[in-house]
């Protein structure tokens, strides 16, 4: 990386803290972010599953969608033109996982949508946030004021000790359940708190004004149960949790059905539902619901110890034949102490227990289609 590329990288409000904590900084989605701290990826991963980890996810985009009518259901109806989810049904103080789709039924980005009573709050991927904002402005400006909340940081606190840690700064935290979301005071700071995350663990994501972010992060890190966690462990945690990484496991060429995200599309938006269709690519996506798709994202476990990584071609047999699919995410799962991967295969080879082979350095390594999440999630329902 050239020096001027390094200089052009953006910094989150926690950049100075990462450096002072010994974070190994790398470029990610245009930001200079820690891939790991001195503890290392393995310890950071295992600590998050055993105790609590703090992640800086301030690079992600935060947006407010304010209805011009003043009625949040109007913003919800407007957003339903861009996503196959039931947004109208999101109750105040609740959050839902969604995808922006394109005319071909592919996925432009995945996101979280929360109902904050008078407006919707969206969290989108860093690499897509400029396009997402433009997409919202181009399509929803008649009904909504779209505000990019660039003056806020986003901190994730994940793991079995997250609730007890956050409770010391936010008395309401323990009463929240999975996917509750809304404005809360944390250490007296006006934050948006959701009980969600990207690790498969119970935990919280805290949107905090940029100027208060370092102070809040330091308060959370004062608790000896909490370690700072870098992007490396964030990726291995989400992989074990079977969660998609945009641009890898889902993209403009994968429909929500192919991506095994049917659970995220409510019945009201499917064929026969009260508000069926009406989102980009509805014809193709609903056809996939009604008739099935030809390929599917599946979990893969290796029989051996060698990690099978993104890009590895999949085969039905141990020799010969054409590739039947490809690994979209893969690596070593520290909690499983074994390789884990996900990828796309024909539906005829997608059944749990199906034996497949991945080509790694010219050898075909045996894999088996396995249920996801690979590690049981511990969400507080």
């Amino acid at each position: 990386m050239l020096a001027n590329d390094q200089d052009s990288l953006k910094r989150t409000p926690l950049h100075g803290l990462h450096v002072s904590l010994g974070g190994k900084m790398v470029p990610f989605a245009g930001y200079d972010l820690p891939v790991q701290y001195p503890a290392g990826v393995l310890k950071e991963h295992l600590h998050t599953r055993a105790s609590a980890g703090l992640f800086d996810v301030s690079h992600m985009g935060q947006l407010a969608l304010r209805p011009k009518s003043g009625k949040v259901e109007d913003a919800a109806r407007a957003l339903e033109r861009l996503v196959p989810q039931d947004i109208v049904a999101i109750a105040e103080g609740r959050q839902r996982y969604a995808q922006f789709t394109n005319a071909d039924g592919g996925i432009l980005d995945d996101l979280m949508v929360a109902n904050f009573g008078d407006h919707l709050f969206l969290v989108v991927n860093a690499a897509c946030k400029a396009e997402d904002e433009a997409h919202l402005r181009a399509n929803l400006s008649d009904d909504c004021v779209i505000e990019s909340l660039t003056d806020r940081a986003l901190i994730a606190l994940q793991g079995p000790r997250a609730e007890a840690v956050l409770a010391k700064l936010c008395a309401e935290a323990p009463s929240m359940t999975f996917m509750d979301a809304g404005p809360r005071k944390v250490a007296g700071i006006d934050c948006f708190v959701s009980r969600s995350g990207y690790t498969g663990e119970d935990g919280f994501e805290i949107s905090v004004p940029a100027g208060d972010a370092e102070r809040l992060a330091k308060m959370l890190l004062e608790n000896t149960d909490v370690l700072p966690i870098g992007l490396g462990a964030r990726d291995s945690l989400r992989l074990e949790a079977g969660l998609c990484l945009y641009g890898h496991d889902i993209d403009t060429a994968t429909t929500p059905v192919e991506a095994a995200l049917e659970w995220s599309v409510q019945k009201s938006r499917r064929s026969g539902g009260a508000r069926a269709g009406g989102f980009p690519g509805a014809e193709k996506i609903l056809a996939h619901f009604d008739n099935g798709a030809s390929r599917r994202r599946v979990g893969l476990r290796a029989e051996g110890r060698a990690p099978v990584r993104e890009g590895a071609l999949l085969f039905a047999n141990d020799a010969g034949g054409e590739p039947i699919g490809q690994v979209t995410s893969g690596g070593f799962g520290p909690s499983l102490n074994a390789p884990v991967a996900m990828g796309y295969v024909p539906v005829s080879l997608a059944a749990l227990g199906t034996k497949l082979f991945a080509e790694v350095r010219g050898q075909r390594l045996p894999l088996v289609v396995a249920a996801m999440p690979f590690v049981k999630n511990t969400y507080k329902r």
């Binding site: 891939v35 290392g40 990826v41 393995l42 291995s236 060698a306 990690p307 990584r309 070593f332």
Partner: protein
Amino acid sequence: MTTTLYTSDHEWLAIDGDVATVGITDYAQQQLGDVVFVELPKVGRALKKAEAAAVVESVKAASDVYAPVTGEVLETNAELAAEPALVNSDAQGKAWFFKIKIADKSELGGLMDEAAYKAHTA
């Protein structure tokens, strides 16, 4: 009497007569992070200098280990294959990867001594 030499790709070689024991340096293991898998060459394999000879994988990524000299693989470290984390705890000791019979000692001329390697990684 063994001499230890280094490559610019962060392999070390402990040379004893015409046999070199090869591993990756402590600097390299620090850069890689937690090692979870190593793949070693087959005994008897003829390696060419700079050819990918072994693989070392951290949680995040896979990296090649190159043959620092041309020669035949004489022995591999079974203990390392069973316990890849040895790379992190003892990169320049217990975590040797393989032993190679040096075909042409003149190839050693292009390698670094410890002082030069330290300067290379400074």
